[in-house]
């Protein structure tokens, strides 16, 4: 496990720097391939979004620096960007990937897009074979962590813009917004945005009234809605479920007596007034009437900031989850590290056992099948007893930082071989078994022949 991560994001680099390193989707597969083919790199992937560019690699050994690759790929001297680059290794790299996938490192913490972007980056790298083994496990785990964060904390659940809070409130009142209509009184950037959000969430029709009728017509056309002359406002307003006001009027436009009329014409179906204007367009006393809900700009702002505070609190919980997961993943990788050693240790003893049995078999003379079994059980028992402690030690060591030392020592003590050598040994063993089988079918060795 030699994870390395290097990158720039919205916190460390301005957009001029980020765009210098951004890799368009079309060139991403090729870039991943190049990264994985780099001599120091075993596996690699690249996350490139508008807010971050990150190179993640599983290095072949401790040496090697991803800056080298960046310099070569972008044909730049990475030294000049040093102040914008961040670099993580081992556990810190794992933690960073977990945090990014869980949207804890995002500009808007908890926004959901980043997980999809990381998944895409992973799929791209996988498709070209740049992600195969440990990096694959790391990313798979990162997606699981992101899911845990999403389900166990509320980090992504609350809206953090005025428009989305308005939608959330409207949904809290009307359930689904399907078939609901929106009335825009006065035009303004923020009210348009809110209307757009409401429409996107299912609101079906829109009315626009403005002091200047032309403006109303233009706006109505934009939304495929209906322009209403301002002096007909009170006659038509009760058709709308959500009213968004943002006029420059110095007085209240909607007062309780209007609301009472609307309600009786609507047969008491609720109405939701969103008052974005300053000074306000809607008399706050209207909020006291049953079935009328009035939110002014401050109420919305307050909802937004309480959401932001909520998210911050939830983010702390999420960080704790990530910490625990980094720990777990680390432990798991290390266990994986000792597994091959344990396997070769077992193989080593088994080979000795088999060889010894074969050696003395001739001298033992004919054995009954019970005796044969007893010999088998005896030798197996001895080997297992001897192996028990070293294997246990290896497994315990796996959880500590000293694992590599212990693994090394065991390998040297028993003259075990590296993985590719193990494979060779396996092949040799297969051959040996094959030989044995041939021997068995060949005309009898004295001891066995008698038994048959």
């Amino acid at each position: 496990m030699r994870f390395q991560l290097i990158g720039v994001n919205h916190k460390t680099a301005p957009v001029e720097v980020r765009e210098r390193f951004a890799i368009p989707d079309s060139r991403l597969p090729d870039a991943c391939k190049k990264l994985a083919e780099h001599p120091a790199v075993a596996e690699g992937m690249i996350v490139s979004t508008c807010n971050r560019v990150e190179f993640i690699a599983n290095m072949k050994n401790g040496a090697g620096d991803l800056r080298e690759f960046m310099g070569e790929y972008f044909q730049v001297d990475t030294g000049q960007f040093e102040s914008h680059l961040y670099e993580f290794r081992e556990d810190e790299a794992i933690r960073h990937i977990f945090r990014v996938a869980s949207s804890l490192d995002s500009m808007v913490v908890g926004e959901p897009q980043i997980l999809g972007q990381v998944k895409e980056a992973y799929a791209t790298a996988r498709a070209v074979g740049a992600v195969r083994a440990e990096l694959d496990q790391l990313l798979t785990r990162a997606f699981a962590v992101a899911k845990r964060v999403r389900t166990e904390t509320a980090v992504g659940s609350s809206s953090v813009s005025i428009a989305s809070v308005a939608v959330e409130l409207a949904e809290k009142i009307f359930g689904s917004l399907n078939g609901k209509s929106v009335f825009l009184v006065g035009a303004g950037k923020m009210s348009e945005l809110a209307a757009r959000h409401l429409l996107a969430h299912g609101a079906s029709s829109i009315f626009v009234a403005n002091r200047t009728y032309d403006r109303a017509i233009r706006l109505a056309q934009q939304f495929d809605g209906q322009a209403i002359e301002f002096n007909r406002l009170y006659e038509t307003c009760d058709n709308a479920d959500v009213v968004i006001t943002s006029t420059g009027s110095p007085h209240f436009i909607f007062r309780p007596e209007h609301a009472e009329k609307f309600l009786s014409r609507r047969r008491n179906r609720p109405m939701f007034f969103i008052d974005i204007a300053v000074p306000r367009d809607v008399d706050p006393a209207m909020n006291k009437i049953d079935g009328i809900f009035v939110y002014d700009i401050d109420d919305l702002q307050q909802a937004v900031s309480s959401h932001v505070a909520d998210r911050r609190k939830e983010a702390e919980k999420a960080e704790a989850i990530v910490n625990g997961e980094v720990h777990k993943f680390h432990a798991r990788l290390q266990t994986l590290d000792v597994v091959p050693t344990i396997v070769s240790l077992q193989d080593h003893f088994e080979t000795i056992r088999q060889a010894e049995i074969d050696r003395v078999r001739g001298r033992l003379g004919p054995l009954s099948s019970e005796q044969e079994m007893a010999v088998e059980a005896l030798t197996r028992g001895i080997v297992n007893k001897i192996m028990h402690t070293p294997i246990k030690t290896l497994k315990t060591a796996a959880r500590d930082a000293e694992s590599t030392t212990v693994v090394d020592l065991v390998r040297r003590l028993f003259n075990l071989h590296d993985q590719h050598e193990v494979r060779e040994i396996e092949v040799a063993k297969e051959n040996a078994k094959e030989n044995e089988r041939q021997k068995e079918t060949a005309p009898r060795s004295p001891g066995r022949g008698a038994q048959r």
């Binding site: 809290k172 359930g175 047969r267 609720p270 939110y295 309480s306």
Partner: protein
Amino acid sequence: MTLTWLRVALAFYGVGLLYAMFALTRTSEILSKVALHAAYLGMVFHLVSLIEAVVQAGQFASASIHNAESLLAFLIMVVFMLAYLIYKTTSPGIVVFPLVFLLTFVAATGQQPLVSTSVAVQHGWLAVHILMIFTGYAALFLSFGASILYLLQERALKSKSRSGMFSRLPALQVIDDIGYRSLMLGFPFMTLGLLAGSVVAEFAYGKVDFLDPKILLSVLMWAVYSLMVYTRIGAGWRGRRAAVLASVAFATAIVAWIANYFSGMHRFIAS
């Protein structure tokens, strides 16, 4: 055995009761799932208990009188589950579970029936009367529960405090739909149930004594109920006014129920 099954059901409803109490202070996906499954299991045992009672008694009417509370509790659960299946919300459970638990508890203590049996019991009309009225009660109760939830949610929205209740309750419109639909579902049942009841009384006594407390209260309850339906359809009453009416209807329903304990007529002691 009937009581044993009922007590098992009671234990499961107890989980629902716990949920109802917890739901007031905090939200928990898991707890609401657990409560829902416990309620399913509870209903199965409950149904077994009811069927066994019917089998033992040999006929529905007598059995349902002996297990009135139990039957009512079961029907309330049925209406609650219907609302859940349509709206995917367990929020009415906050009100439903305590009542169901209470009714089942009373039934499970195994006291002797409040109502004595008589020839009239043999009558098919009586079975119709009981089933209809109880379904009406159950629907009325859910409607009452919904109007309470409506008030809570409306208050939360108006106060602009984003505290607990707000996020836990379903949308105002959904609560309103639940209340409205159960109101509309309950009304025909209640009406037909009362008509069936008067048919039974006609058969049993020849004439109906309108001054009997039970009859009087039942008619009053029906009047309030129809007023609720009327104001809802006609004027679209919601929120506070609807909740007040629902509370009155519910209170009359409870008093009418209690009248079983002292009504001369509804005990069917005659003949």
